[in-house]
Symmetry: C2
């Protein structure tokens, strides 16, 4: 298997529709605000008359709104296309699926590379620091725009799971089911360290230009690719890496000793290159920071238990056995606090050797359990 370098396309050529533009000064957790933010989103299926069948899908760090369709930049399958559609787990015959690009993202929702309407210039590093809570506040605006009072379900993995948790503590009365997958209520020092190594790699690329790469017509693709490679290792289990690649070597002339002579190197290089086609470096900096700063217990003086007092939603937490980035123990901490509040919570650890990325992969037991939980709540 050989991965060839592809021509780098630009994500800035695409106009993302539909797009909801808010005519307001959107307040952030930090006290800062963003004038007239936009939300790029996709929907699948139809909203019923009672507006009771809406499911909000929250994407992970490098995901976007194109959850159930081929991606406009990469032409790859949507990240949850196997889960969302007619007769699939998130059945579009029954449910109205909403999938929006997060605040700070780079696929149409306002982010560091959007134009600041006050200055008419790109935000760049003048974009304010955003939090997971801010992402959810913006999603509420979108949900309101549909006139939906209560979502049937909010679901997401990894950073998406963090958003689900925020929904849970801020808007429990506005959502029936909450499904945080492969996530945690706050980053460990190791989680932060891996992100920091990636951010260092981006900032080490002089094409980053202190965040002004668009103005200078450059792009820190090598730095962003390196950041992606680091992260990608943490998304895979050691077992899967070993099974997939082991020490398989590519044949290579000795003169190219640093072009990568192991399969796993080519794969990482390919992943990095393919990633820079569809993602923005400043967004990566802002979103990883939001994850690092996320701490659900912070506003409850460090008590996670207090976060779930009088929570009225029904919860399902899911973790995967080989996920070492957000291991099962992280989910258990949350389950524990929910149970201390006598909340309606189920928890399952699913056997998978695919590491953190398991939530993006067709793991049959994972699909069965999601299907079962949704249909149980339908009764």
């Amino acid at each position: 298997m050989l991965y060839h370098k592809k021509k780098i396309k630009s994500i800035y050529n695409f106009i993302h529709k539909p797009n909801l533009s808010l005519d307001k000064n959107f307040k952030l957790q930090s006290g800062d605000s963003i004038l007239n933010p936009s939300i790029a989103y996709k929907t699948y299926g139809n909203l019923n008359k009672k507006k009771s069948n809406a499911i909000l899908i929250c994407h992970a760090l490098t995901g976007d709104q194109y959850a159930a369709e081929y991606h406009p930049v990469t032409n790859k399958k949507g990240w949850w296309q196997d889960l969302i559609g007619k007769n699939k787990v998130f059945d579009t015959n029954k449910y109205f699926i909403i999938s929006s690009n997060v605040l700070g993202g780079c696929m149409g929702t306002t982010g560091p590379n959007s134009i600041n309407p006050i200055t008419n210039k790109q935000y760049g590093l003048n974009f304010p620091e955003i939090s997971i809570k801010d992402m959810v506040s913006l999603q509420i605006e979108l949900v309101n725009s549909f006139g939906i009072e209560k979502l049937f379900c909010v679901v997401g993995g990894s950073m998406g799971g963090m958003q689900v948790l925020e929904w849970g503590i801020n808007y429990s009365d506005r959502v029936r089911l909450l499904i945080p997958i492969a996530t945690s209520y706050r980053h460990t020092a190791q989680n932060i360290a891996f992100h920091e190594a990636g951010r260092q790699a981006i900032k080490a690329d002089p094409n980053w230009q202190n965040g002004n790469y668009n103005k200078k017509n450059t792009f820190p693709k090598q730095g962003l690719a390196a950041a992606r490679s680091i992260a990608h290792i943490t998304y895979m289990s050691e077992e899967h890496l070993e099974t997939k690649f082991g020490r398989a070597k590519k044949v290579k002339p000795l003169s190219q000793i640093f072009e990568g002579s192991f399969e796993v190197e080519s794969y990482l290089q390919y992943q990095g290159i393919s990633f820079v086609e569809r993602f923005d470096a400043n967004s990566y900096l802002y979103l990883t920071r939001s994850m690092d700063r996320f701490d659900l217990s912070e506003e409850f003086k460090g008590s996670l238990d207090k976060a779930f007092i009088s929570n009225v939603s029904r919860w399902l937490l899911i973790s995967f056995t080989s996920d070492w980035l957000f291991p099962t123990s992280e989910s258990k901490v949350i389950v524990n606090s929910l149970m201390a509040n006598a909340c309606d919570v189920s928890f399952v650890e699913i056997e998978s050797n695919r590491g953190h990325d398991s939530f993006l992969i067709k793991v049959p037991r994972f699909y069965d359990i999601l299907r079962g939980f949704l249909s149980g709540a339908n009764n």
Copy 2:
């Protein structure tokens, strides 16, 4: 705790002595050769008349010959200074300690930034690919230069442990005791992947100049610092990172949101910066490659058992409980093969929460066991 950026010094200003220059064409495993290589080394203690008390210390990826004295560039304590000296574990009243910089290194032994005597230019990427076996072949030359027929002991951790293993299979008749610590007989796909992410970060730095940074009077310090940060995470246990830093935040103005607001980030940035003062980027590329390509079973058609047939040395393997880079299971594989050959082998897993770096830290039980093993062999 705050880590301040220091002025970057250059490692190229130092002349490392003593230095053994070989007047020969030194053959490499690849078939290539290096003309008149040099070996920079340090010794501690005195060689006895019988020349029977010599211990060879093999350094890890980023170590060097300055094992038991303050480092000439950083002024930091030697990496095994607590272990080597009068009345210490490697007691210089009794033993003659030899510590040399590896082939491909950057502290005086011939490496990619040495002058090629054939062209009178720096090797750069024209330096031939080197292996762990080549490092050991060069060490043999140094040992011969002292007229030592049989070393009392060869010891080292991590990449140093790989060298010990090579000594074991190639020169078992020339060494009494072998102590490979926190090591493995070949890299896993995950080990390779972490190294590859680091190499990508170096190559992403335009100051790398395709390896010709010295000629251009630049240095890829940001890329090398990022590579070091990635590696550093793998050297520490998650528990230690959490205990040391947790989520402790530094006070910082919001305008500097990307300067790192967690302690762990500052620490990683400091580690990266302090590392580039004393290490060379091309050496890092060559040495990580040697580790990735190391596979003790390769010349035995994949059978590790065959590597140890009629091995006459006495072995002690040591691993650490929280080392997830070279976990205990890796040491056990080697022990298993040694035992299948009825070799004289002891093995101990030492309790430590300091991860892979435990072999560089004063872990009392580790010191006791080394001391016991050495004194047992003295009888």
